[in-house]
Structures are given as structure tokens and as C-alpha cells.
């Protein structure tokens, strides 16, 4: 079906056109929403067609490559503007356009009455386009374009309410947007260095050999460099691939909010809730995971870098889960939960469990989008209340929201047979049996217990117990906000079928791209799954029981959690995100501000502007006054100057001759 290859160009182009059309043509909320939603939906259809085309190809050559033009051509640095649509990309593109379309539809209802709907929908479409470019790029430079594009859209959408001084729980949207952008830049800089290192050492930035440009692909060359070092001068040396892997890991930490660059994501919740669902849960933050999977050739040849990836992922999974357990803001719980789940994925792909990581990425995309959208429905129903201490007992008022939220929560907690169970279990099993790394497996199991605990706590706080505040007018969502929830709830419930043990559609679908050995299923794994599920059920029940039954009466708006009394500083530390913000504020932000204040006031203001610039100007003006004084306009004096000039010239001549 080579005739339909061009359809892959439609996938990113349609949302891009949608963004332009929304910005330029749409006037009014309805028109903007319709154009943007149609663009996203059509892009989803195009993706389906492309996947079908891919399906008709033989498995070993299942990829569509298309080069539009040579983007950069400087000496040996040749970069194509080309797309690569293989099975890995197909998975990502389906998630992005599918969940993206649903969230567009949801936004139609959620953003009703917003003051800047055209802007919102245009940026949302632009985000989808950039994200698709990121996953469809056939080289690192173009991928970086998408990488920066999604960062920009994230910045723009977090700051959607830039005119508000504060949104719950006390975040300034404009500052949160800037923070997200700046923290991401740190990762981006490292990623850029990784790209440069790849080009300088591997001679290409294309993933695969590019016939149009005649450039080799760097992935297949990576293994050649396994034992080559980069000299770092007095710092010794480091393996090339290790250096590339570590630099990429920093990039991943920025984009996927891993420790220590995770601090931007909780604040990013200042954006509208559909944005949180699409960008900061389902898609953009998974770009880091995609990057590692795409570069699996580099990481599998660089064990040091890969073990760092695992470590970062596992530690993030646990610490962020603990943070999630202590939050009272509805969306902040979910934000920390996202960081934690991304930690799972990063740990998985670091261990080489690429298919498991992608599986969890997919199921997480479904159930976390569901949770965020349901949270949005709650916020809508309660008129912008996000503090869980002001909720409670909402089960009766909002039965539909309760049910879909429960599906999402159980899926996230990893309860059999919902989607999260299958994907999370696969990662833990891989850590224990394939990677044989019990420490990591235990951390991940502990995280799973904490995950179940905080979801139980959240469900209890929101839906059970006594209503702590009257929400008489609260009602379930309907119309365009309702059925995306249904679709996602179904997805979160049965998403596990994608990669059931024994069937493993996803693994075999990705097998030609990832060349990963097929997972073997044993009795041990089944026992493991039962144990992990039991722990999760226990954790979840504990969370629910504690907050719905035991301390129910002690939850008061504005007061601290009763658990603080027992856990003290640990609880406080978790609540504050382990003090990273505090550390960055003291170690970087304040010294930087003081330094720039000094530079601005003293160096620039006094020295450069005052002495150098102003002084130069004053000097010349003074000189000019002197010259003007000579220039009186008297003919006699002018003639004298004239003749004096002749004399001076003759004197100069004499001086030159004498020398």
C-alpha cells in the first residue's frame, strides 16, 4: 500500500493547520473549539490509516520513511526534514492523537466561558502538532524541534491564566510557566550536547540510514563506540556512549520531570485541567521515555548510563509517590503521581524492558488522562474548589464522576484486572526476574504500595466520609465532558489486553523495532503478581480506611494532615517535594538574583551605562563644542585656517622627508 504513504504527512500537518486556522480565522469559542477538535480528530483518522498501511507491510521492513527536503546542508552536517513512521512511532502517535482528540472534545465543555478560547485551542493544536513531530522525526535535530515545540506549548498553556495572580493551591500561573520552561531548558541544554556529541562521534544525527541524503544512521553505529572514550582533560575520561546516555538522561529528567529536575511539574498544574491531562500526564512528559526507547541502541551499549537511568527512575518513583500521599490539592496528588509513574517507565526502559515501558506509557496515558479529566469534572462541579479538605462525601452528589474516578484510581493502583495491573506488574517482574535486581524491584513494589495508598486516601477524602462543605449545586458532567470520560474509563479498564501475558500483542508489534527478547511467563511471575496485587490492595484499603473511617473527622480545611502528628518531618518533607524547591531557591535562584541585581545596578548602570556609554557621549559632545568654537563663520578666520592648513600640510611633508 505504498500509495498511501503520504498520509503520514497529514498526521502532524493537520493539527498545525488547525492551530493556524484557529488563530487566524476562528472568532468565538465555538468556532475555535470545532476547528481544533476537527483537526485533532482528522489527525487521529490519518494515524489509523497510517497504522493500517504499516500493518500491510512485512514486519521486518515495517516503516514508512519520507523526506520532504534537505533541511540543513553544511559540509558533512546534513539534516533532512523527514518523517519516520515505524511501529514505535505508531504507538506514540495513536496515543497522542487518540487521547488528544478526546481531550479536545472534553475541552469544548470545560473551557466554556473562558476569556481566551481561540488562544487555548490554537495552542492545544500546536502542541499536538509539535508532539507528533517529536515522535515522527527521522533525526535528532528535527526531534529537538518538536521537543522545543512541546516545551513552548507547555509554557504557553501553563500560563493560560496569566492574568490571574494566583490559582489553587496558591500558584502564580505566569511564574509556574516560566519555571517549567527554565527547568526544561537545563535538560534541553544537556540533550543538545548529547546531539552534538552524537554527530561529532557517530557522524550523523539520523536514526536510520537516509537514502535521500546519503547519511548513515547513528543507531546502528552506536555499538562500534562501546569502548571509545571522551577525554575530559583533568577530569579523566568517560565512555562516549556513557556520556551521550548521561546527557540524554538529563534531558529526560527535564522533560519527564524526573529527580532532580521534577520540581516544575507540580506547579504546572496551574494550567487548565485538560492541559494537565494531555501535556502533563498523557503525552509530553512521556517524551523522555520515548527518547530512551528510540535510542535503545545507545543505552543497551552503555550499561553505566542505563543503570543511572534505572536508579533515577526507581528513586523518583518512590519519592514522588510518597509526596503524592501527603498532598491535599486534588491536582497536585495527580501531578506527583505522574512523576512517580514516569519513574516506573524510566526505570523500565533503563533495565531494557522497552516493551513493558511502552506498555505502561500507554496504559498510564489512558488512566491518568481519565483521572485528570475526572478531576476536571470535579473542579467544574465544585466551582473551582481543588482542596480535598473541602470535599468529602461526594459519592452521592456525583455518582458518575465517582465511578469513572474509581476506575482510574484502581487502574493506577494496579488492581487486577485493570490496565495498570498488567503494565506495572510487567515492569516489576522484569526487575526481579529478567534484570535480577531485587533492590530496584523492592523499591518499585514499595512505590506500588504507596501508590495504592494515596489513591485510596484520595478517593476516601473526595468521595467518602462526611461532606465537609456543602456543595448542593454540584452535578455530574454531561455532553462533551461526559463521553470522553466513558471512553477513557473503558480504556483504563480493559487497556491491559494490549499486552496480556501469553498474547502480548504490543511486544510482538514492537519486536521488529526494538529487537527485544520476548518476555517469558513463568509460575514465579504469577506468584509475584499475586503478591504485588495483595500489597496494592492492602495499601489501597489502608489509605481508604484511614481517611474514610479513622481520621475522617479530623480533616479540617486549612489544617494539616493528622498523619503529620505521627510522621513529623518525614511527612513535611514529602509534602514539600523533599525540599528541592527550597534548595534551588537558596542555592541558585537567590544568588543568581543577587548577582544580576549587582550586575544590573553597579556594573551596567554605573560602569557601562554611566561611565562608558554616557561618558563617551559626553566626551564627544564636549569635543564638538570645542570644534564649533573654532568654526565662527568669519571669512577672515576661515581663510586663515585655510592657509594654515596649507602650511601644516607642508610641515607634515617636511617631517616625512626629514625622517
Amino acid at each position: 500500500m505504498s500509495d498511501l504513504r503520504w498520509v503520514i504527512w497529514l498526521i502532524p500537518t493537520l493539527p498545525l493547520l488547525g492551530a493556524v486556522a484557529t488563530l487566524l480565522l476562528a472568532r468565538g469559542e465555538r468556532a475555535a473549539g470545532m476547528i481544533a477538535t476537527a483537526a485533532a480528530g482528522l489527525s487521529f483518522v490519518a494515524t489509523l490509516v497510517a497504522v493500517w498501511v504499516l500493518q500491510t507491510m512485512p514486519a521486518e521492513a515495517a516503516r514508512i520513511e519520507s523526506v520532504a527536503w534537505t533541511w540543513i546542508d553544511v559540509a558533512s552536517f546534513r539534516v533532512s526534514f523527514g518523517l519516520l513512521f515505524d511501529r514505535l512511532t505508531a504507538v506514540m502517535a495513536l496515543l497522542i492523537t487518540g487521547v488528544g482528540s478526546l481531550i479536545h472534545v472534553y475541552s469544548l465543555g470545560y473551557m466554556r466561558g473562558d476569556s481566551r478560547p481561540e488562544r487555548f485551542f490554537a495552542y492545544l493544536n500546536l502542541f499536538v502538532a509539535a508532539m507528533l513531530l517529536l515522535v515522527m522525526a527521522d533525526n535528532l535535530v528535527l526531534l529537538f524541534l518538536g521537543w522545543e515545540g512541546v516545551g513552548l506549548c507547555s509554557f504557553l498553556l501553563i500560563g493560560h491564566y496569566f492574568d490571574r495572580r494566583s490559582v489553587p493551591p496558591g500558584i502564580v500561573p505566569a511564574e509556574a510557566a516560566t519555571k517549567a520552561f527554565v527547568v526544561n531548558r537545563i535538560g534541553d541544554a544537556a540533550f543538545l550536547l548529547a546531539i552534538m556529541l552524537i554527530f561529532s562521534r557517530l557522524g550523523s544525527v539520523s536514526f536510520l540510514p537516509n537514502a535521500t541524503l546519503g547519511t548513515p544512521g547513528y543507531l546502528e553505529r552506536a555499538a562500534e563506540l562501546a569502548f571509545v572514550d571522551v577525554q575530559l582533560g583533568p577530569l579523566g575520561s568517560i565512555g562516549v556512549l556513557t556520556a551521550i546516555g548521561l546527557l540524554m538522561l538529563i534531558g529526560v529528567c527535564g522533560k519527564s520531570a524526573q529527580l532532580p529536575l521534577s520540581t516544575w511539574l507540580p506547579d504546572a498544574m496551574a494550567g487548565p485541567t485538560p492541559v494537565s491531562a494531555l501535556i502533563h500526564a498523557a503525552t509530553m512528559v512521556t517524551a523522555g521515555v520515548y527518547l530512551i526507547v528510540r535510542n535503545h541502541g545507545v543505552f543497551s551499549a552503555a550499561p553505566t548510563a542505563a543503570s543511572w537511568v534505572v536508579g533515577v527512575g526507581a528513586v523518583t518513583a518512590l519519592l514522588a509517590a510518597l509526596s503524592a500521599a501527603t498532598q491535599f490539592d486534588l491536582k497536585r496528588v495527580l501531578a506527583y503521581s505522574t512523576i512517580s509513574q514516569l519513574g516506573y517507565m524510566v526505570a523500565a526502559v533503563g533495565m531494557g524492558a522497552y516493551a513493558a515501558g511502552m506498555f505502561h506509557l500507554l496504559t498510564h496515558g489512558l488512566f491518568k488522562a481519565l483521572l485528570f479529566l475526572a478531576a476536571g469534572a470535579l473542579i467544574h462541579a465544585l466551582h473551582d474548589v481543588q482542596d480535598m479538605r473541602r470535599m468529602g462525601g461526594l459519592r452521592q452528589h456525583l455518582p458518575f464522576t465517582f465511578r469513572v474516578y474509581l476506575v482510574g484510581a484502581l487502574a493506577l493502583a494496579g488492581i487486577f484486572p485493570l490496565a495498570g495491573f498488567w503494565s506495572k506488574d510487567e515492569i516489576i517482574a522484569h526487575a526481579w526476574f529478567t534484570a535480577q535486581n531485587p533492590a530496584i524491584a523492592l523499591i518499585l513494589i514499595a512505590s506500588a504500595a504507596v501508590t495504592a495508598f494515596y489513591m485510596g486516601r484520595q478517593v476516601a477524602l473526595i468521595f467518602y466520609g462526611q461532606p465537609r462543605e456543602a456543595h448542593a449545586a454540584a452535578h455530574d458532567p454531561h455532553g462533551s465532558m461526559r463521553w470522553p470520560l466513558v471512553v477513557l474509563a473503558v480504556g483504563a479498564a480493559i487497556g491491559g489486553v494490549l499486552n496480556l501475558p501469553g498474547v502480548h500483542w504490543l511486544s510482538s508489534w514492537l519486536e521488529p523495532t526494538l529487537a527485544e527478547p520476548e518476555a517469558v511467563y513463568s509460575v514465579g511471575k504469577a506468584v509475584m503478581a499475586v503478591i504485588v496485587t495483595a500489597i496494592a490492595v492492602g495499601g489501597g484499603y489502608l489509605g481508604w480506611w484511614l481517611y474514610a473511617r479513622v481520621v475522617d473527622g479530623n480533616i479540617v480545611p486549612g489544617k494539616t494532615d493528622p498523619a503529620l502528628y505521627y510522621l513529623g518531618d518525614i511527612w513535611r518533607g514529602a509534602e514539600l517535594g523533599w525540599g528541592l524547591d527550597w534548595l534551588y531557591d537558596r542555592a541558585i535562584v537567590r544568588p543568581y538574583r543577587q548577582c544580576s541585581a549587582f550586575l544590573g545596578r553597579v556594573v551596567d548602570g554605573e560602569a557601562l551605562d554611566g561611565l562608558l556609554v554616557g561618558g563617551t557621549g559626553r566626551t564627544f559632545v564636549a569635543l564638538a563644542r570645542g570644534v564649533r568654537a573654532v568654526q565662527s563663520g568669519h571669512a577672515r578666520r576661515g581663510l586663515a585656517v585655510f592657509l594654515l592648513g596649507v602650511v601644516v600640510l607642508l610641515a607634515a611633508l617636511l617631517a616625512m622627508t626629514m625622517r
Partner: protein
Amino acid sequence: MMFQISDVPRLLPELMLAVLALLVLGSDVLERWADDPAARRERGRAAAQLTGIGLGLIWLVTLVQGGLAFTIAPAGAAGPLDALLSLGRNLQAGGAERGALLGAFATDGITVMARLLLIGAALVVALLAGDHLPDAHPAEFFTLLLLATLGMCVMAAAQELIIAFVALECSSIALYVLAGYSARQPAAAEAGMKYLLFGVVSSAVLLYGMSLAYGVTASIGGADGGPPRVNTSFAAIAEAVRVADVAQRGAVMLAVTLMIAGVAYKLALVPFHSWAPDVYQGASPTVAAFLAAASKTAGVFLLVRVLTAAFPDVAGAAGANGFTGWAALLALLALSTLVLGNLAALPQDVTRRLLAYSSISHAGFLALALLPLGGAAPLRDAASAALLYYLVVALIGSLAAFGALAALQAAGVADRLEDLAGLRQRNPLLAAVLTIAIASMAGLPPLAGFTAKFAVFVGAWEAGAAWLVVIALVTTVIALAYYLRVLRPIWMQPADDRPTVSVAPVTAVTLALAALALIALGVLPGPLWQLAQAAVLAR
């Protein structure tokens, strides 16, 4: 020096200028049937139109005859245009390679370029002047304009001392009268008087230098036993300089110095400049445009002729590898002109006075561009092309800027900077033209002034005068300060209740074309650059 019939086509543009001057004057004499204001205006318009049409024709003839921009193919099949084409073919065949007047008058590419520039400048000035005629005797105004142009053209082609001096005086005397043409205005009378005084002194200095140069030729022939072959031609002087001994070299350098000083007055190089601000301010703005554009260009061409034809052996250098010869003198003049001209421009409040100083500082760039002309062939040719390029751009820029000021004055706008306030609302076209002209003078890309300055800098740098280029760059920055002072009231101050400015259509079109040329030459420097190179190489 002897006139031959075959010189007629070689001197065709000059002869046509002379004939046109007589025609303008004569037709006006025949038209003097009344002396009321309406009749006088009618006569003035007739003279302006005749001058404009005539100059346009002469410019076209020069363009075709010069054959720099294009050559007409040899006779082919007879077509509807063949009569016209064969006329052009005849003209091109007549532009003889050997000079006219037995070599006393060069007819090379530089002459063609000079004619195109000077006649073109006169044409623009005539077009501008047609819309604001002088109070009295308009025909004489245009006659003098034409005679001055004639003098300049001959000056630019002179290969001989007497022709050079007579041509210089021909243009100067006409310009003295033109500068003080509106004699009822005291400022104009003062301008004319000052211009005359300085002109006379400079002529004396120039003549002194010329007589010394003439004296040096007595040495040729004397050495090999024959009688001394005294001669006034540049070629003879060059030969005498070549064989001169150390003692005679002193006289040679004295001659060079005095001649440079004499011509430097035309260019308004510091310290020979003090007439310029008063004259530019006092004379009518169209005359000021002519002075700034054409007279200066003619002076540069005369310097090029004298220095490269008569004194190539004492060129010297102005760089790290020596500081001798006329290159060093020019470097000193360029230095003083760039520094003092730009500094003096800073505190000016009168627009035309400010532009006068800017014009003085441009002379500094011209001196800088003249520096490398004594060097070796490839460098010299590139530098000559750069000089021609700069001349074209500076000429168009001066015409546009002073032309815009002339239009403003004709509309009754006073001459101070604050009177330009809100010009963007009062007349957007003039605001745009003035802005483009001034930005080009300041050397801002992508306008032509940038390319021109860049070419001159490259030439001087490669000639070794890097230090001077650095100073010139610094003065360019200073210059930006006063150029912006002109632009600020135009764009950033409100018009308040100042009236709108109306411009006559011919003036508007002329100025717009000049501004467009500045943009076009800046964006596409190629064609003019090739033309300049062709002019340099067409010996």
C-alpha cells in the same frame, strides 16, 4: 593641444552642454516680451523645461556613447528600430579610444562615468529647480548650471594643466554666481561672497602648485643633452617626476601638496572646508544640492586625474610600511576631516548646516577612498571601482537629502531641526526620502551607503591604512548620533499644529526615484559594481 574634426564625437557631451547653455540663454532673450510676474514665471518654466529635456538627452547620449552599461550589436537585419540602433552604433563608434585634443582630454571609462554622474546630477537639480524657480533671471540660472556642469565634465577628463585649470575656473565662477543667486537675501549674498573668497585663495594655491609642476618638466631632456622639453601635460609631468633627482623631488612634493590643497577646497576637506557650512546654508537648497553632489564629485575626479596621471611615482603609502607621498597627505586630510567634520556636526541645530558637515565628513571618506590609487594594479583597480561606487551613492544620497530640504523650503518649512517635527504625518513621502537618504549616508544596511562605505574600507584596509579605517569606523558611530538627531523629530515628535507639506509632482517623483535607487543599490550592489569595474578597466 590641437582641435581636430575627429574630436567632435569624442567631445560630444561637452559640446552639447555648451550648445544647450547658449540655447537656454538665447531662447530666453528672444522671449523677453513682458516683465510681469506671470510672464517671468512662464519664461522660467520654459528655461527649466528646455534644460531638463536637453540634459536628459545629453545624459542618454553619454550613456549610449560610453558603452559601459551595454554595447549595441553590430548591424543585423533591418528592423523597425534599425534607424535608432544605427544612430547608437554610430555614437559608440565615435567614442574613440584615444583621448581627444591630442591626449589632453581623456575619453576613458572614468570620463564616461564622470559625465554620467555630473550630467545626471545637473539633470536632477534642474528638475528640482523647475518647481521652485529663482526670483529673477531664471534662464541665466539654468545657463550657469549648464556651464558649471560643462566645466566639471572637462575637469574630470583633463590630462593637462591648463585645461584642468580653465575647466575648474569655468565651473567655479558659475558656482560663485549660483551660490549668491538670490542676491536680495543677505544669507545668499554672504554665501556667494564667501564662496568667491575661498575659491580665489584656493585657485591661487592651486595655480602655484601647477606652476611648480610645470617647472619640473624642464628637467626632461636636459639630462640627455637635448633642449629642455617643458610641457603642461600630465604625461610629461609624470615622466619628469620619474627622472627627477632628490632636489627636484622636493619641488615635486611641494607641487603635489599645493595642488591637493587647492582641489581640497572643492571637496571641502578639513581644514579647507570653512566655507561649506555657510554656503550650503545660505545658497538656495537646489544650489546646495548641486554643490554637495556635483561639485564635490568633479573635484574628486580632478584629484584622481592629477594624482594618478601626473604623480604616480610619488604616491607613497600611508600604512605600517611607510608614511610618505601623497597617500600620506591624503591620510592626514582624511583623518582631520573625519574627526573634525563629524564632531562639528554633532551640536548643529540647523538641518542644512548639519548636512553640510555630514557632506564634509563624506569628503573624508572620499580622501580615504583615494588613498589606495597609487598602489599596484589589481588593488588599485578595485579601489578605483570602490571610489566610483562611493561617488555614485554619495551623489544620489546628497541629491535626495538636499532635494528633500529644497522641497521643504519651497513649502515654507523653516530650517531648524525642530521644524521637521511630525513630518511623517505632514508629508510621508518626504519623511521617507529624508530617512532613506540619511540612513544611507549613515551607512546602515541594507541601503547603498553601507555597501559603498564597506567597499571603501576594504580598499583602504588592503592598502595598509588599517589605523585610519578604525578611526573612520569610530567616526561613523559618532555620525550616527547626529543623523539620528535629524530622524527623531521626523518620526518621534508630534506634528502639533504644524501644517501639512505639499510637494510638486516632478519633485516628488524625482526624490522617490532617488530613494528607491538607494534601496536598490544597497540590496543589489552587483550591477553598479560591475559598471564601476568596467569603467575602471575601460582605458
